[in-house]
Symmetry: C2
Subunit: 402 residues, 2 copies
Amino acid sequence: MASSFQPYQASMLALGQAPSVIRETFEYGNRRAAEIGRENVFDFSLGNPSVPAPASVDDSICRLIGDTDSVLLHGYTSAVGAEPTRSAIAADINKRFAAGISASDIYMTCGAAASLTVTLHAVLCPGDTCMTFAPFFPEYRVFVEAANASLTVVPADLDSFQMNLDAFAQLITPQTKAVIINTPNNPTGVVYTEENLRRFCDILRAKEQEFGHPIYLIADEPYRELVYDAETVVPYLPNLYDNTFVCYSYSKSLSLPGERIGYIVVSPKMQDARLVYAAVCGSGRALGFVCAPSLMQRVVAENLGKTADLSVYQRNRDMLYQALTEYGYRCIYPDGAFYLWVQALEADANAFCMKAREFELLLVPSDSFGCEGFIRIAYCVTTEMIERSLPAFKKLAEAYGK
Amino acid sequence: MASSFQPYQASMLALGQAPSVIRETFEYGNRRAAEIGRENVFDFSLGNPSVPAPASVDDSICRLIGDTDSVLLHGYTSAVGAEPTRSAIAADINKRFAAGISASDIYMTCGAAASLTVTLHAVLCPGDTCMTFAPFFPEYRVFVEAANASLTVVPADLDSFQMNLDAFAQLITPQTKAVIINTPNNPTGVVYTEENLRRFCDILRAKEQEFGHPIYLIADEPYRELVYDAETVVPYLPNLYDNTFVCYSYSKSLSLPGERIGYIVVSPKMQDARLVYAAVCGSGRALGFVCAPSLMQRVVAENLGKTADLSVYQRNRDMLYQALTEYGYRCIYPDGAFYLWVQALEADANAFCMKAREFELLLVPSDSFGCEGFIRIAYCVTTEMIERSLPAFKKLAEAYGK
């Protein structure tokens, strides 16, 4: 074989073979469950919704099957998404946030990951940098690098886990074309405060002036509906900053992660908004998306404003946060999402997670999220499993002298 | 603004703004229908299935909604697809083609376009060339170029519209890493003969020897089930050539184009098959696919071997082919798909299509398929519309002195 010939894309092979610590933990849990029984393993590894989709979603599916012409129901929609769906979503956004969004600002996608890859391929050019704030969803790096750009990670604010804006202001460069933020946050569950966000947008605007070009804010918002306290506000980013994309998914709010349905909002206030929207269309086409799943486009349009029963997550959060704090763990209070972020009881979070396995607790170490010394607990599990796991958390703390 | 700064990917903008002649023709048809009535416009532009999904598909959907746990039904599957679905598909393939495929050779996708982009990104490296045979589905160029490679088009065999293998053997180079073929073919409806395919595979094997590296055959097969004569055989490519990918979709066979469900087969006989499969997984991850739609994964597994009522297409084909041949058109006999490929009655197919519009016939000129002087008639329309359109085809022929 010619020495320069590569039979496959080396970077894709590496991604395909990369051991994800989350997936490895989950698979360890399955092996362990086979050994000692599922009920004796406390698997907190995966961010997979544990509550059913609202009954109205399943009702919509069956009703649409019954009363809609099959060729229309299962047929291609426009590449940007069916107009009635986009209009309904725009109206819902405007009702909630008075954001002035219209159907033509919305591009329907196959879920949050697609929202991000389509957006990133639309705007990033070779040599560009995209930034994000630690701790962050590890796929951001995969998606940015696949778009031939590089990711710059802003170190975490280890006290508040709000965006570390001093570090951000120091790290941003003229090569920075976009910044991905995620609030409510995976993995911390933190909701960025309006003050933190406003200061962030002020810095972005100042840097746009200084560099003489737009810097796109990409708001990754699959957890927007998952907030638990009445006073928690998740500001709508297009209202704070003009050059904003909102990448949304119904995976968590409607418990439909496998159905791959979401959207991108290209803020109409964005510089060259219509050209950027056209680039989004080109990007979706080039990546092979064609259109978002057609039946689900109709289903979500009929279920705007509805959510799965999120009270389970709130109950889980309250129980875990209270108990673990009482046992001596330092927990970051999660306003949203379904993750609890806890300081490991030794400096090496990986070693701590291995220790936790002795008590059948499957936790994800923070290193893969770009931050050391913490663990992520995905509490999208049954409340009953959490109750049964509490003695194990107590013993784990005691093993560290708590 | 800094002069070197690009606010968006120029290539994506170009794609998003590119006027597709198919789409433009379709939209002209809509405007014309508003002017003179839908029943007076004969729109043959779009390859959108016109027959409903089989009743068993809708039955499966409603039954699954009723009897399956929502969290499992709508939840993430494994990135490669649910194991039961992949096993069922492998068993069905082996039953029909004795191809020795197993579940671990199959990667579920969001439809044919995704099957192609995921495959191309898995194997193509910058500097590589991918080849295809004119006339060809225009998105091949988009998909290949998005994977940072270049497309080489083999000129059509204007007599048979089989693969032009002499030209292929002359154009292939050591930079050729992959060849996309599409049988039954869009836009011609031609099914490549077993003889043509065997000779093609012989050339590929000889060139692999000569160049010292694998050359991948990418079989784009969304129309596999759409063949109309009992004697028409569509050979299964992994049985003829080891380094084969099969890119399949249920869009046409089950009339589910909007639902985005298909798969890739990585032939187990491929060189480094497990590594290439891992690269496919990495590619799907990098492009943001996560998993194929979960409900539809179960639905297709329950409907293997079923098809929509394809007899409508056969009736349409027979009626159109017979009438147009009688009126003096040179039609290429279509063994499959739902396209009729007809020689334009003047050298310039675009001019011919504009002339056809005077008779309210909306046809797609061949130029965008990489071949001049022909037009594509998509006969996935009602038989009744075809009947009503025949006098217009007759008048069009007469306008050219036929």
